[in-house]
């Protein structure tokens, strides 16, 4: 188990290093950073000055090494647009995104697990069909469009919830739904597929032969085994949620990492974009690591492997 964890950790670090290179190169190669900083229509002398000031005239490898060393030391540089320390900026916005991401995941789990179990237990029934229809329809709905529909319904027509902002818990309701509904269908399908397979297994027949209550058969003996792949998917989906938060936070003007990323991109504030990209990648890597270990913990057969 320890060796397994160490191997996974090593791979995670390698992926993080690789992503840092990509994050760095991507933003340097896809445009002239100096031009971006100096602004459209800047004079050549100004651009040259920017290039020298920011050290953009040095070889890429030197620039990367410099950036990496400072990043590792916790110095993410200065934001070009917000004119503040990038690390402080991110630390300020992270909690909102973390909250919205966790809420959305919980929302998705709270919907997908019961629905998936119900559809598996009553496979082929109208409940199963309805859940599948909802899943198919949900996955076709663009999240930004759904967010606007929610806004129209709950804020304008019903006047139940505030339109945008991130001051009270009520501000989090619509973003949670708008972000979480999209990951619900794949999770529900996975729960259903897992439960259908598990419910047909020999050990479920054993559990029934033991005269256990239907609840014990389905939940204790069934769900536990069906949830193993869902945990892996949940972690990956949380990665999707972080990406999706860019769209949703922007629509609802939630002051989180996603909105910050959007602002940094539109203002060509590449130190911030770079830092957010690296951070999101690190979070994803960390999540997959956690999900792998959680999987190993949930499935006793993997513990000795």
């Amino acid at each position: 188990m320890l060796l397994y964890a160490l191997k996974r950790l090593g791979l995670a670090l390698l992926v993080a290093a690789f992503v840092s290179v990509v994050a760095f190169l991507l933003l340097r190669l896809s445009g002239d950073a100096a031009l971006a900083i100096a602004g459209e229509g800047a004079r050549d002398e100004d651009i040259a000055l920017v290039r020298r000031t920011y050290g953009l005239d040095r070889p890429l490898i030197v620039q990367y090494g410099d950036w990496l060393l400072r990043t590792l030391a916790g110095d993410l540089g200065q934001s070009l647009y917000f004119k503040t320390d990038v690390a402080a900026l991110i630390a300020d916005k992270l909690p909102v995104t973390f909250l919205i991401g966790s809420f959305s995941l919980l929302f998705a789990l709270a919907l997908s697990v019961p629905l998936g179990v119900l559809s598996a237990v009553y496979a082929g029934s109208w409940i199963d069909r309805l859940a599948l229809a909802l899943a198919v329809a949900g996955q076709a709905l663009p999240n930004f469009f759904f967010a606007l529909v929610l806004m129209m319904l709950f804020s304008i027509t019903l006047r139940w919830l505030p339109v945008s902002g991130s001051d009270t818990w009520a501000h989090f309701v619509m973003p949670t739904i708008a972000l979480g509904y999209y990951v619900t269908p794949p999770m529900m399908r996975l729960v259903r597929a897992g439960m259908v397979e598990v419910l047909g297994s020999d050990y479920i027949r054993t559990a029934r032969a033991k005269g256990l209550s239907p609840a014990s058969v389905v939940f204790k003996h069934g769900l536990r085994n069906a949830l193993v792949p869902v945990v892996a998917l949940a972690a990956v989906q949380l990665g999707y949620l972080l990406g999706g938060s860019i769209v949703i936070e922007t629509i609802f003007a939630l002051d989180g990492l996603g909105y910050l990323a959007y602002q940094s991109i539109t203002h060509k504030d590449f130190p911030v974009t770079q830092a957010v990209l690296l951070l999101l990648a690190l979070i994803y890597v960390l999540l997959t690591l956690v999900s792998d270990l959680l999987n190993a913990f949930l499935d006793p057969r993997m513990r000795v492997a």
């Binding site: 791979l11 129209m152 259903r192 990406g243 990209l277 999101l280």
Partner: protein
């Protein structure tokens, strides 16, 4: 970590009836084909169907509501937008952009992902290790963020959006092709071909590819739908295709500030998007059932 990206693949087994007959009997496939077929027809026939030029502005005829409203007129059945452009014509022409995006991104990412997945699954060993690593690294970077950043740097246009998404969205192809190839390569006829001394390219293209093709089709449909949604999201955020192109995502963005008074402006392109993606997803779902007949979805 590489394990996290391995999805279970159901082995493709034969079932009663020809594939075409099974597709015709599958309600998801039929509904999906009808929806997608309708959108394709609209895209192809847009010049004939559209009552007006989708780019022609008429500032005297701004924000006319659709025909089902009291103030609607048959001259503009779906009303007009903020610049007085005929909304029906714009929605019809918008189908072209969504389909073009879906198809091109699917082809580009499909080629990249299939090549990587086949190589990883067939050669195994170190090749597999390296490719799995690249897949994991790619998955670690959120598509929306990278695509937004790249489009912002280079400048938004249809080719840039297509290329960016195409170069980003190959991961699922690679993941599915990798595990499908792994399964097929251990089968007897592949071993037999190897024993008979067939060349590697012959084996991969002649023996393996045809057998993993059903998986490829299913992933391709799902990815086309996802690419269409992504383009719409990028355009909605102002970092996709640029005005005055009638992209459905862009139309929603342009109408966003007016939605409290003229909700139809976002409801119409939003519904069009949802219906197209619904059709594509239904098609993918149905094909999965057709190819994997043991009832697991």
């Amino acid at each position: 970590m590489s394990d996290a990206v391995i999805l279970p693949i159901e082995t493709v087994t034969t079932k009663v009836g020809s594939p075409a007959a099974r597709m015709a009997a599958n309600p998801s496939v039929v509904t999906g084909l009808l929806l997608v077929g309708a959108v394709v027809a609209i895209a192809l026939l847009a010049p004939l169907l559209a009552p007006h030029d989708p780019y022609a502005q008429d500032l005297t005829r701004r924000l006319i509501p659709p025909i089902w409203h009291d103030k609607g007129v048959w001259f503009n059945p779906l009303g007009t937008d903020n610049l007085g452009r005929d909304y029906l014509s714009r929605v019809l022409y918008g189908a072209r952009i969504s389909l073009l995006i879906g198809l091109s991104v699917m082809v580009i990412s499909g080629l990249i992902g299939t090549a990587l997945g086949l190589a990883a699954g067939y050669f195994g060993g170190r090749t597999d290790l390296v490719i799995s690593f690249v897949i994991t690294a790619r998955l670690a970077m959120p598509v929306v963020l990278v695509a937004l950043a790249v489009v912002a740097m280079i400048g938004g246009s249809l080719p840039v959006v297509i290329l960016t998404l195409g170069l980003l969205k190959w991961d699922r192809f690679a993941v599915v092709m990798r595990s499908a190839t792994q399964q097929v390569r251990s089968l007897d006829y592949v071993t037999a071909a190897e024993a008979a001394g067939a060349s590697r390219s012959r084996i991969v293209l002649g023996e393996i590819l045809p057998n993993v093709f059903p998986h490829l089709i299913v992933v391709a449909t799902v990815e086309a739908g996802s690419a269409i949604l992504l383009e719409a999201a990028l355009s909605f955020l102002g970092l996709g295709v640029q005005p005055p192109l009638p992209s459905w995502g862009l139309m929603i963005a342009e109408a966003k500030n007016l939605m409290f008074f003229s909700f139809w402006l976002i409801a119409i392109p939003g519904t069009a998007l949802a219906l197209l993606v619904l059709g594509i997803n239904l098609l993918g779902d149905g094909l999965r059932d057709v190819f994997a007949p043991d009832g697991r979805s």
